[in-house]
Symmetry: C2
Subunit: 420 residues, 2 copies
């Protein structure tokens, strides 16, 4: 436990927010190379399972130069999101495509391509050359080589990924140029690494379902999640008042959390347990009686969420985007029939799939403009000097079952190219 | 039990569908009267409770002539719907207004007015003159007297009620002329009695949520409910295919039910239990694979309904309009987030409140044009010769807890004016 803490703590925010970039060399030819590393590393799984069981580290041969329309990138930072945990567990609908990552010492050329639709060359035989899955749905990467016919992207540019399950828990990837979106380095490395999933989710949750104006109230659970903290900030920027619910914790931690969310702009923060006391319900009804909440954002589900329904006004929307409690959500028929409650889901991947590239870019640009506070996080570096065996062990130890730091913070992975 | 059956059985469909009307005398003056009965009777409750506990019969003084803008009506037939049961139980949001129905032998004039907004004169003192509630949300009535300034309604016309909780479980009522809608006698007495709640509900359920075209599939539970049978017929008229779910019953009854629903136009009828066998799911998926169902109509809720969700395609709507199981509905987050399932409610009362009178009339006219088969039903007559005591006892006995006939059929009440 203490070593886990130490290994996470030793990589502080200072590291996380380093935004210096190596200038790189601007290259157009697909065969050109930039201080090329001799190998890369990825975190992979072969079978579904718990994060701290299924993950291992895998060193693989340096990327070949990108073909036409493709680019090589060095992944700088990639978060561990709850959905990544679900992907490894096998309970998420999207799954990375299987890949064959050839070890650096094996023969033959590697026609490496990233997950998500493109063909993947399967290599027969050879120890350690079987198929693996590389998790990681978002991150920030730096372009290291550009294939023929690619416009609008240069070596040194920062990009985020525009298609699901690109496999970002790796030091390098080769991707289609149209599957990445250039981002401004001003955004900062941490923000950029977590740009494409949580902030646009928070933004969409607040604008796609119920028209909200200044002074309106909304309710959310899991309010201290990364998404929850972003919702608080965006709402506060717009004068929308938030009733935030979190799990109860030891008193001091609780006070610190309430204070932290308040500083981000939370109007009120309560624990689910506190709602068992009906006087709190009455108090909230009193507070909100001129504008009863018409939006409940849910990433928890389970009985606590059902309890929140009575805070809602007529014709409200319950928008579910997660189910951290792993329990279903029970809806009383009366709320739906007589009080017009509509319950629906939101999935950022579906939104991306349904919107044109221009709209996606506009969404990300809007996110950057909002200048949101990064959620609390820790960076875990998979160090160049570690063997695959050591790297795997340390990652499993650090991520545990939940993929969060011992302090409950979001973990960002920085996978370094291994020294081989 | 057998006497209950007998008393219900003795009043057959033949009785129920008698449509002959007494021509009546056309009267304009509010003071005029038509072969006026000396008293009326209502089924009433004073405290919420089970139907077979809370209900009693109450003879009350003959209506005074209707004032300006009002009409007196004789209620011909009024159904016992599940929502009426819930009203008596006190678990329904709409509740009739309290009324004071003066006994025929007490002094003073009775300023009787019907529930639902109009002021009700409260009479102090006097045994048996306390406040009561008259249940009954729909029914067909015949106009017996017309107040000044009422146009478009004549004595002898049939009307249905255009506002909620008019208290139709009575032999006579006085209502605002704008709170009734004239219906064509061609509709038939039983159809007219059940015109304003179930058939428009079935029609709205099929047209307000998912655009449906010929060949599409829908799923419904409680398929043998009155609403369910209407849904089957309307769907069949439009070439929409229905997957109907019912509770399992003893084999012969089951076969008879499947046959009956089939004759109405049901494409397939299954029991909830049968779905426990995954091969049925596979079979249905196979059947519907070119047009996976996008509409699930739910009046049952509870775990059986959650089980039906896996029959739905992408972006489906689950529309709840009842919860006969009295259990909440558990929604798996994945269905909402990844499969775009939207869960909402439908309430006919809210629809009426949100639509203008013209639209309501158009809806009822459309219902009549559909020429739908009446759901299976039995008529229970509260006979003129019975004392209030006997009438109350027999009603409680006949309706039981559920308000259905021993054969599970819908009960229609015909409350006769008592002989006093
Ligand atoms: N639908 C979409 O498109 C979309 C997009 C982004 C995220 N999400 C989902 O949104 C959720 C939050 O993501 P995130 O990245 O913001 O997560 P995060 O920062 O890792 O935070 C996780 C949150 O879940 C709470 N939690 C964990 N287990 C819980 C339990 N058993 N009961 C109640 N709360 C529990 C945590 O509360 P404690 O601090 O009390 O442990 C914390 O608030 C996840 O379910 C994720 O999959 C969905
Ligand atoms: N929202 C609205 O505006 C609106 C309008 C009209 C009706 N409704 C609702 O729609 C529902 C049906 O009304 P209706 O007049 O058509 O009813 P009905 O003809 O009296 O039929 C009742 C139905 O409920 C089923 N049922 C009873 N208890 C059940 C249980 N524990 N589990 C599963 N099924 C059960 C019965 O099945 P069995 O034959 O197996 O007992 C039957 O199919 C009611 O809930 C009513 O309140 C709502």
């Amino acid at each position: 436990m203490s070593s886990r803490t130490a290994s996470l703590r030793s990589l502080s925010r200072a590291t996380a927010t380093t935004t210096a970039t190596s200038p790189g060399i601007r290259l157009f030819s697909a065969t050109a190379r930039r201080a090329a590393p001799s190998a890369h590393r990825a975190l992979v799984f072969r079978e579904h399972g718990a994060l701290n069981d299924a993950l291992s580290a895998h060193t693989f041969r340096a990327l070949s130069p990108p073909g036409p329309g493709r680019v090589n990138v060095r992944v700088r930072l990639a978060p561990v999101n709850p959905s990544d945990v679900n992907v490894v567990e096998g309970v998420y609908p999207n799954k990375p495509s299987p890949e064959t990552l050839l070890p650096p010492d094996s023969g033959g050329t590697q026609d490496f391509s990233v997950a998500g639709g493109e063909p993947v060359q399967s290599v027969d035989g050879g120890e350690g050359t079987g198929e693996v899955y590389v998790p990681g749905n978002e991150g920030v990467a730096e372009v290291t080589a550009v294939g023929e016919g690619v416009s609008g992207l240069e070596v040194g540019d920062w990009v985020v990924f525009a298609k699901t399950q690109p496999g970002t828990w790796a030091s390098a990837r080769q991707v289609g140029a149209r599957d990445v979106i250039r981002v401004d380095k001003d955004a900062g490395e941490v923000t950029a690494a977590m740009l494409s999933v949580n902030p646009p989710t928070a933004l969409c949750l607040l604008r796609e379902f119920v028209p909200l104006k200044e002074g309106d109230w909304i309710v959310q659970n899991g309010a201290n999640s990364a998404v929850g903290q972003l919702v608080i900030q965006i709402a506060a920027q717009r004068g929308i008042r938030t009733l935030n619910f979190v799990r109860s914790r030891e008193e001091q931690a609780n006070n610190a959390l309430v204070k932290h969310l308040g500083a981000l702009g939370a109007t009120h923060t309560f624990t689910y347990d506190a709602l068992a006391d009906r006087t709190l319900t009455a108090h909230i009804k009193q507070l909100t009686h001129t504008a009863p909440p018409r939006l409940l954002l849910n990433c928890v589900s389970g009985p606590q969420t059902t309890g929140l329904l009575r805070l809602l006004g007529q014709d409200a929307q319950l928008v579910s985007y997660g189910a951290m409690s792993k329990q279903p959500l029970a809806l009383p028929a009366g709320a739906q029939i007589f009080r017009g409650l509509v319950a629906r889901g939101f999935w950022m991947s579906a939104w991306y799939a349904a919107h044109a590239r221009k709209e996606r870019e506009a969404l990300l640009e809007e996110v950057v403009r909002l200048k949101l506070e990064e959620p609390r996080h820790t960076v875990f570096t998979v160090q160049a000097g570690w063997s695959d065996e050591e790297a795997g062990r340390r990652v499993r130890e650090a991520l545990g079952v939940q993929g969060r730091s011992p302090g409950g913070e979001k973990v960002l992975l920085r996978v370094e190219d291994p020294v081989v």
